[in-house]
């Protein structure tokens, strides 16, 4: 982005006669910290409530005391119990399998494409970039019915059908990964690569030996964003995963949404909150540890992970 300052016409500006500077500064600081407090509260309060509820006894589900009371670990036991037809543990594993596979494949394919887009000149380049970006805006719901019938015909809705979710997830993650990676690659010192080429490296070698280590932080960030996007996917998984208990490929997001209670009509709030906490905490840790990288990745691509 170019940062050309707009000329500010002095005449149009009205003089603001405020309180003396020092008091103004202090007031400003107080307001700032108040604002910051609101932001922190905004982010954490509902999340905090989820955790409090996760530790509450079922009989006290709707108690509104804002701190930990009537605590129990039962909800976590319930969440992992398969006695009620829930398979939360397996669902966690499924999400990890789907997330890791999606991330690995999308990164592999995406790195090639992003490198080409950032570094090479070739025919239709901007058209291709446009198509890839267009794909990221594609409504997933337009894929549900055709993919459902396609996968149904080739038997992909039965058995351990992880591929039925991994393949679409890759396609959804790819545009974002490429977008982010292209932005990262654009900022790398490519002179080094050229130097390596002149020293006799092949383009592949130059990329692997010189550029890849430099690009590692960007790759890592993109991988995290890709993983989170696959971990959070719901729509397609809700239609394409296999809920057969012996070949259970349902990921956590769908498992949580259809969590069933002890009775056919029961909504097990506390157990769902416990399950939600388990699903979320790894992500929160990931976010806390890599917050700088994530923020840079988010803003580099300018897209949601």
């Amino acid at each position: 982005m170019t940062t050309e300052a707009l000329p500010v016409t002095a005449g149009a500006a009205e003089q603001e006669i405020g309180p003396p500077p020092r008091r103004k500064d202090r007031g400003k600081a107080v307001r700032s910290y108040l604002g910051l407090a609101i932001i922190v509260l905004w982010g954490l309060a509902p999340f905090y409530w989820m955790i409090v509820t996760a530790f509450r006894q079922v009989g006290f589900t709707f108690v509104t005391t804002p701190w930990f009371t009537h605590t129990t670990l039962d909800n976590f036991r319930t969440a992992f119990s398969t006695a009620r037809g829930n398979h939360f543990g397996q669902a966690l594993l499924n999400s990890v399998i789907i997330g890791v596979a999606t991330t690995a494949i999308a990164m592999l394919i995406g790195v090639f494409a992003a490198y080409a887009l950032a570094r090479m000149q070739f025919r239709f380049k901007y058209l291709i970039l446009g198509i890839i970006l267009g794909a990221s805006m594609f409504p997933g719901v337009a894929l549900v019915s055709p993919l459902f019938s396609l996968f149904s015909n080739i038997g992909w809705l039965q058995g351990w059908n992880y591929q039925a979710m991994i393949l679409p997830d890759i396609s959804f993650a790819l545009p974002l990964a490429i977008y982010t990676l292209t932005a990262f690659f654009g900022e790398l010192p490519w002179d080094l690569e050229e130097a390596a080429r002149i020293d006799g490296c092949t383009p592949g070698q130059a990329f692997r030996k010189v550029m890849l280590p430099l690009a590692a932080p960007g790759l890592f960030t993109t991988a995290i964003l890709t993983f989170i996007s696959a971990w959070n996917e719901f729509l397609l998984a809700s239609q394409l995963s296999n809920s057969d208990p012996h070949h259970y490929t349902v990921p956590v997001t769908v498992a949580i949404a259809s969590f069933s209670g002890a009775q056919p009509h029961q909504e097990p709030y506390t157990a769902v909150m416990a399950a939600g906490t388990i699903v979320t905490v790894p992500l929160i840790i990931l976010v806390l540890v890599f917050q700088k990288a994530i923020v840079s990745g988010l803003t580099a691509g300018g897209v949601k992970g």
Binding site: G59, Q158, S243, D244, Q263
Partner: protein
């Protein structure tokens, strides 16, 4: 016997050859020389598909069968316990013509759809299934186009839970019940809890009200007949009691659980709900109504009202290779001994009328005599292959009438039109 069949074959001519040879193989009985697996009526191992076995009744029943039939073993295939997912799972396997799904467990509301798709073996002719002694509504729910497509296996019906500490005798008629609402007012309680949120439960509650006044949703040929004076009375009754507060406003969010929790907290005098609440309300730690409630049949105009029917039937897939074994298995699981077992072990409502008078069972499930009345008077939910569209039509319009002030006549007229449009293609 073989001669007889041959003569039949000659008489009916060439066109019937295929059919007749199928029948021939059936005569082979236990012999292994039959038409082989492709003929579709021989015997052999089968797979039985059902939702998650939460009550643990299937494993012992199947083990017992397998011991007695080593050559016709049954394999249990469990689905999830989410009804929608079970439905979709069956649809996928049937579309793939999967011979591995020999018997499928169908919710009463899916029977017509699956039958019309040609996926269920009619239980007629050589596959005749005897429904003598079954509660008639359960058989009706398994029947489409005057043909029985499934064996009723477990039933369910709505009950009226009432506070016996506050209401001396349970109301027999609707007028009595609404009249008792003044007792609720005296005690600062709400009166009647049902399922009035916009979901399948609203279809159940609305059709109960309409059926109670003698109305229908679809006729026996599946034609929509919902716009009738009887239905008008039924739906109007609910609307009136929403207006006067007997059915309080927050019930527009009520599914089964919200009602149960509120009833257990002592907030309601009456509740319409399924039998599952009985043991919860009597045992759960947070229940304030332990020992203070009882059940009665849903009240009607002059006597017991019409409950909607829940439950499951078992159907043989058209694509099964071992239909004869499948049929025998259906007979086995619906026999009195097994029906008693599922009631004792799984608290499921049997489909055989006689069991409701069994003292041992009544001791275990005290609500059984009441439930018998409820199921005997029950009306199956509309038996139509367009059930998803029909239930949307009822839900949307009943909700609008109850909570959004849509005139009942307009709601019924739209229901009728919506159902007609579904059955004549989008």
């Amino acid at each position: 016997m073989a001669n007889q069949w041959r003569r039949g074959r000659l008489l009916t001519g060439v066109a019937a050859v295929a059919v007749a040879s199928l029948t021939l193989a059936g005569c082979g009985g236990g012999s292994s020389s039959g038409g082989g697996s492709s003929s579709g009526n021989s015997r052999g191992p089968i797979t039985f598909v059902t939702g998650k076995d939460n009550s643990g009744v299937w494993a012992p029943m199947i083990a017992k069968w397998n011991k007695a039939h080593p050559k016709e073993k049954v394999t249990l295939k469990e689905q999830t316990d989410q009804a929608d997912q079970q439905h979709d799972d069956i649809v996928q396997h049937m579309q793939a013509k999967d011979p591995g799904y020999d018997i499928v467990t169908v919710d009463v509301i899916w029977t017509a759809e699956f039958a019309a798709k040609g996926w269920l073996q009619p239980l007629t002719g050589q596959y005749k299934f005897d429904t003598n002694g079954f509660l008639p509504p359960t058989v009706k729910a398994a029947t489409y186009n005057n043909t029985l497509y499934a064996a009723p296996w477990a039933s369910d019906g709505g009950l009226l839970y009432y506070r016996k500490d506050l209401v001396k005798t349970p109301p027999k008629t609707l007028d009595q019940m609404w009249n008792d609402c003044k007792i609720a007012k005296q005690h600062n309680m709400s009166c009647y809890a049902g399922q009035f949120a916009k979901y399948e439960g609203l279809t159940v509650n609305a059709t109960e009200a309409m059926n109670t006044f003698g109305g229908q949703v679809v006729d026996s040929a599946g034609k929509p007949t919902v716009n009738s004076p009887q239905n008008q009375k039924g739906l109007q009754m609910l609307v009136d009691h929403v207006k006067n507060g007997d059915i309080p406003k927050q019930e527009s969010t009520f599914q089964e659980e919200q009602g149960r929790i509120a009833f257990e907290a002592g907030k309601f005098l009456f509740m319409r709900n399924w039998p599952y609440c009985y043991s919860l309300a009597s045992t759960e730690g947070s229940s304030k109504v332990k020992g203070k409630f009882a059940v009665a049949p849903l009240p009607g105009v002059n006597g017991p009202g019409a409950s909607s029917l829940g439950g499951h039937s078992e159907a043989i897939s058209t694509y099964s290779d071992h239909k004869q074994t499948a049929l025998d298995f259906l007979k086995y699981i619906t026999a009195p001994a097994q029906q008693k077992f599922i009631a004792m072990k799984g608290s499921l409502a049997p489909v055989r009328a006689s069991l409701y008078d069994d003292p041992a069972l009544i001791k275990k499930l005290p609500y059984l005599p009441t439930l018998k009345t409820a199921i005997a008077n029950a009306v199956p939910r509309p038996v139509t292959p367009f059930y998803p569209a029909v239930t949307t039509a009822i839900e949307d319009n009943a909700f609008a009438a109850l909570w959004q002030g849509k005139p009942v006549s307009a709601a019924l007229s739209d229901m009728q039109k919506a159902m007609q449009s579904a059955s004549s293609g989008s």
